[in-house]
């Protein structure tokens, strides 16, 4: 049995019996209370403008960031962005209630569908679980609210982030996951997204749109 054999070899290497209560205690304690390394200085100060830091980092990674003062403005902002990039006025999203209540009929001829992405979709819209200021990163949780394929199949990905859900660090995002989702905190897929798809593999120059989205719009909303 490979399992017993591998674990046996590991224990022999460590000179550790399987039932050492002290070691077991150390491990279960660390898992139960994950240690937190000091937050990077760029987001550590209590009065840090997290949204500004988030925006700055994300733009460095070649995403477009728009800010709205009212969620009602979101459909128009998205429509303008798609038009500016010569994209059809068409998008797909999941059943996230914060997206469902947006009124896309306010923009003429905006074609909106729901469900997971199909290969013909040109734009996908997701709502981020949180934004993470330290590197301009968005955490997305898979599920019917925000199907994971929306962020990878369409040429354009649009992510909405609530301003009051921008946290300083990755650890803060994980803490919210544990707090709000309980024991089974992990969805099938947790995506940390920090810019559009890219590669520097051919000729050493960055090309945007390798396999995933060719462009990424983030909308920060109150």
């Amino acid at each position: 049995m490979s399992r017993a054999s591998i674990l046996g070899k590991v224990r022999t290497a460590l000179h550790a019996p399987a039932d050492d209560a002290l070691r077991i205690g150390v491990v279960s304690e660390r898992i139960a209370a994950p240690p937190i390394v000091a937050a990077p200085q760029r987001v550590a100060a209590p009065n840090t403008d997290l949204a500004a830091g988030f925006k700055e980092e994300l733009e460095l990674q070649l995403a477009t960031v728009a800010e709205v003062t009212n969620a009602l403005q979101i459909p128009k902002v998205i429509a303008d962005y798609l038009s500016t990039n010569n994209q059809p006025l068409r998008l797909r999203h999941g059943i996230d209630p914060r997206i469902s209540k947006l009124d896309f009929t306010a923009v003429a001829d905006f074609e909106v569908q729901t469900g997971p992405a199909s290969p013909d979709d040109s734009a996908g819209l997701s709502y981020a679980f949180v934004g993470i200021a330290e590197t301009g990163t968005m955490a997305l949780l898979s599920g019917p609210e925000n199907p994971v394929t929306l962020g990878f199949l369409p040429d354009t990905h649009i992510i909405i982030v609530s301003r009051n859900r921008i946290v300083p660090t990755y650890e803060d995002a994980f803490a919210l996951l544990r707090l709000e989702r309980g024991v089974a905190s992990m969805p099938r897929t947790l995506n940390l997204i920090s810019g559009p798809s890219r590669t520097a593999d051919i000729g050493g120059r960055i090309v945007i749109g390798a396999h995933g989205p060719r462009r990424l719009l983030t909308v920060i909303t109150p």
């Binding site: 490979s2 399992r3 054999s5 591998i6 674990l7 070899k9 590991v10 224990r11 022999t12 290497a13 460590l14 550790a16 070691r23 077991i24 660390r30 898992i31 994950p34 937190i36 390394v37 200085q41 990674q61 999941g94 997971p116 992405a117 290969p119 301009g136 898979s142 599920g143 199907p147 994971v148 394929t149 990878f152 660090t169 990755y170 650890e171 994980f174 996951l177 089974a184 905190s185 969805p187 099938r188 897929t189 947790l190 995506n191 940390l192 997204i193 920090s194 798809s197 890219r198 590669t199 520097a200 593999d201 051919i202 000729g203 050493g204 749109g209 390798a210 396999h211 995933g212 989205p213």
Partner: protein, 484 residues
């Protein structure tokens, strides 16, 4: 993958005279070095994080059995399956069984060094399965029938024109007169071709940068998004990972993620970092229906119990090879197996044996840059030095080297004789070199002198110079020691 590490010298010689390779090498790594330095400068706590990362990896290795068990429990709780594989063969068989059970025909693959290590593609193809690499460059290497030369920039040896030729040869169904001389056009063509594969694949295989014991998640980092399409669109997601990839918690993964991309490409973070936990949930509209993890040992449990344990801290960022003067001169292929550069020299003998890979430890000047940049502070020169000793002890060192080392060691045991003889030799060499002060040819050292002159000694030994200095210089006292 069949190693050719024992031929390092021949491989290196061929690499040095390969003009296209030298052209490609001259372009890239310097950029990665500068980008890492810039990213480090932007994060003042970078070096503190390296200490933290080192301690965290040591802690995990010290409790590896328990973290693996905790991880397994969580994977199963999330509806996934864990397969333990002692050897490369076991791992390939486990994957073949899963593919067969899923009645798979087409398999897409994200980038995975471990899959190279176990020679997975050949095994899948031998079972009549169609396997497609989806990382852009891995795809290029696959159609070229080559293996990666670098762990994060696998085609560091290719220039753009070669890729254009490959695509024209491989994609003959596309118009012959299509423009393909821009990187963006090449990327676009690969994107279209691989889209089809993602959508029709039955099984998607990815590696893992980390496994998280707290949640049973596997983590991959990519910039292209190919790993996400691979695992989200196929019916079955298989993760192949070595046992040393486990970390205790999500927070520990975060600490390492801060180091990984910065060390590798100088990015703050890659475009995509993906945590996968089990198969799709009951109400999920997409994602794989089954999730399997292959936990591979393949020699690591033995390294864990050896004096080389520290090498298992590696997070595969590639910084050591980017900064290595030897790697930069000969490229990855000369190392003859999956992991090139200093990490390969320190790791490979432990995985495939000293006889095959022990000589890689000689491919170093011990300049120490690898250790200086390693995010996990692995003492690579120390480990390479130890492999050299073992290679010598096992009699794998070539005769001439052994003879020279033995003669020197014998002489060094007699300091008086050593001083007299070295004094004579230094004097003779100075005379022999004449006005020029350098040699253009030395017996048995043409490897050096064919490329450049060897400077001759200046006439006196270190011991002589030291003795003179002791006579003339003021004795060192605590107060002037600092200034000296």
């Amino acid at each position: 993958m069949q190693p050719t590490s024992h031929d390092f010298k021949t491989n290196a010689r061929a690499a040095l005279s390969d003009r296209q390779l030298q052209e490609a090498l001259s372009g890239l790594p310097g950029g990665l070095v500068a980008q890492r330095a810039a990213a480090r400068a932007r994060l003042p706590e970078f070096d503190d994080l390296r200490d933290y990362g080192r301690d965290l990896r040591n802690h995990t290795l010290d409790h590896l059995d328990l973290y693996l068990e905790a991880y397994e429990t969580k994977v199963i709780a999330a509806g996934g399956h864990v397969h333990w594989a002692e050897t490369a063969e076991d791992a390939c068989l486990a994957i073949l069984r899963i593919c067969k059970a899923a009645d798979a025909k087409l398999i897409t693959k994200g980038k995975s060094m471990v899959s190279e290590e176990i020679g997975l593609n050949a095994k899948l193809q031998a079972a009549d399965l169609d396997v497609v690499e989806t990382d852009l460059v891995e795809y290029i290497l696959q159609i070229r029938n080559e293996t990666p030369r670098h762990i994060i920039a696998p085609a560091i040896h290719l220039i753009q024109d070669q890729v254009e030729d490959d695509f024209r040869r491989q994609h003959q169904h596309l118009p012959k007169d299509r423009p393909l001389d821009q990187p963006a056009e090449l990327v676009d063509e690969a994107r279209k071709i691989l889209r089809e594969k993602f959508i029709t694949a039955d099984v998607g295989i990815t590696g893992a940068n980390f496994l998280v014991a707290e949640t049973g998640s596997s983590i991959i980092v990519t910039n292209e998004g190919n790993g996400d399409l691979t695992q989200s669109l196929a019916k079955v997601h298989i993760v192949i990972a070595a046992i040393d990839k486990v970390v205790p918690t999500l927070n520990d993964a975060a600490a390492l993620l801060r180091l990984l991309a910065r060390s590798a490409t100088g990015q703050e973070i890659t475009a995509y970092t993906t945590f996968s936990t089990g198969p799709r949930r009951a109400d999920d509209p997409d994602g794989p229906q089954a999730y399997h993890v292959i936990l591979l040992d393949n020699g690591r449990s033995e390294l864990l119990g050896s004096e080389f344990r520290e090498v298992l801290r590696c997070i595969r960022c590639g910084a050591c090879m980017n900064h290595c003067p030897v790697y930069n001169a000969v490229g990855g292929h000369a190392y003859g197996w999956v992991y090139p550069g200093p990490i390969g020299a320190a790791l490979n003998p432990g995985l495939i044996g000293v006889k095959e890979a022990g000589s890689l430890a000689n491919a170093s000047t011990f300049c120490g840059r690898c250790e200086a940049v390693c995010p996990m502070r692995i003492p690579l020169p120390k480990l390479m030095r130890r492999w050299r000793e073992i290679e010598f002890e096992q009699g794998e060192t070539p005769f001439l080297t052994r003879f020279a080392l033995r003669s020197w060691a014998a002489l060094a045991r007699w300091p008086a004789a050593y001083h007299i003889i070295s004094r004579m030799m230094v004097g003779t060499l100075k005379l022999a070199a004449g006005r020029r002060g350098a040699f253009t040819w030395i017996p048995f050292a043409s490897g050096w002198t064919s490329g450049r002159d060897l400077p001759a000694p200046q006439g006196r030994t270190f011991q002589q110079l030291w003795a003179e200095r002791q006579k003339t210089a003021a004795p060192l006292t605590p107060t002037n020691k600092e200034a000296a």
